[in-house]
């Protein structure tokens, strides 16, 4: 996964995450739930990520860990892209 992927995740987070903290101040490892990501916002985030990256998060990924950080999201997307390659 590239820098572009990370930037795309950050852009989608800015639009759909409704975070209490400024996304530019968060590292890739920062806890998004601690930064204000609600469970409902994590659903809209998931739908927006699916739309942008043309993937579908399977049931086994419907867990808080999947959306816990930018790095965690990137890892899941990488796995999904690997599976579809």
């Amino acid at each position: 996964m590239s820098i572009d992927t990370t930037e795309a995740i950050r852009t989608i987070l800015r639009e759909h995450g409704r975070l209490a903290e400024d996304i530019t101040k968060l590292s890739d490892q920062s806890d998004l739930f601690q930064a204000g990501l609600s469970s409902h916002a994590s659903v809209t985030l998931m739908l927006a990520l699916e739309e942008h990256f043309e993937v579908e998060f399977p049931e086994r990924m419907l867990h808080r860990r999947t959306f816990a950080s930018i790095a965690a999201i990137r890892a899941c997307l990488s796995e999904l892209h690997g599976a579809s390659a």
Partner: protein, 133 residues
């Protein structure tokens, strides 16, 4: 006994319905839930969806999941003819409840002032002791 509570913005749910439409509904709600919510239109439909989302999250909190992945649709709000609602669990959510020793769930939902909220109380089976008295 375990308890879970959640509050959801009706406006946020409205935005999700507008932005993602059927995909949002299909990924989060069961066909039965969707049919009930869509029996209304506009703001009332959004309030119904929001209350059900709050109920799912409140249930999840009461189930105290560890690393289990739970599909939102495996937690279903069913409305009785009298108007009262219950939570029905399927799949992994039902399996998790069994592992946690939860024998029943009680649900209450409400919405007002732009927010929907839900409280879920989980009754845990009394643990039997192997010790001899």
């Amino acid at each position: 006994m375990y308890v879970g509570v959640d509050v959801v913005s009706v406006n946020e749910v409205s935005r999700s319905l507008e932005r993602f439409g059927e995909r949002y509904v299909r990924r989060v709600f069961t066909p039965g839930e969707a049919a009930y919510c869509r029996a209304a239109t506009g703001r009332v439909a959004a309030e119904r969806f929001a209350a059900r989302f709050a109920a799912k999250e409140a249930t999840l909190k009461a189930l105290r999941p560890d690393t289990t992945a739970i599909d939102w649709r495996s937690i279903e709000v069913r409305r009785h003819a009298s108007g009262w609602c219950d939570v029905v669990l399927h799949g992994e959510a039902a399996a998790l409840a069994a592992r946690q020793g939860i024998e029943s769930l009680a649900l209450s939902m409400s919405h007002d002032a732009g927010c929907a909220t839900a409280v879920v109380v989980a009754q845990v089976v009394a643990r039997t002791s192997n010790r001899e008295s």
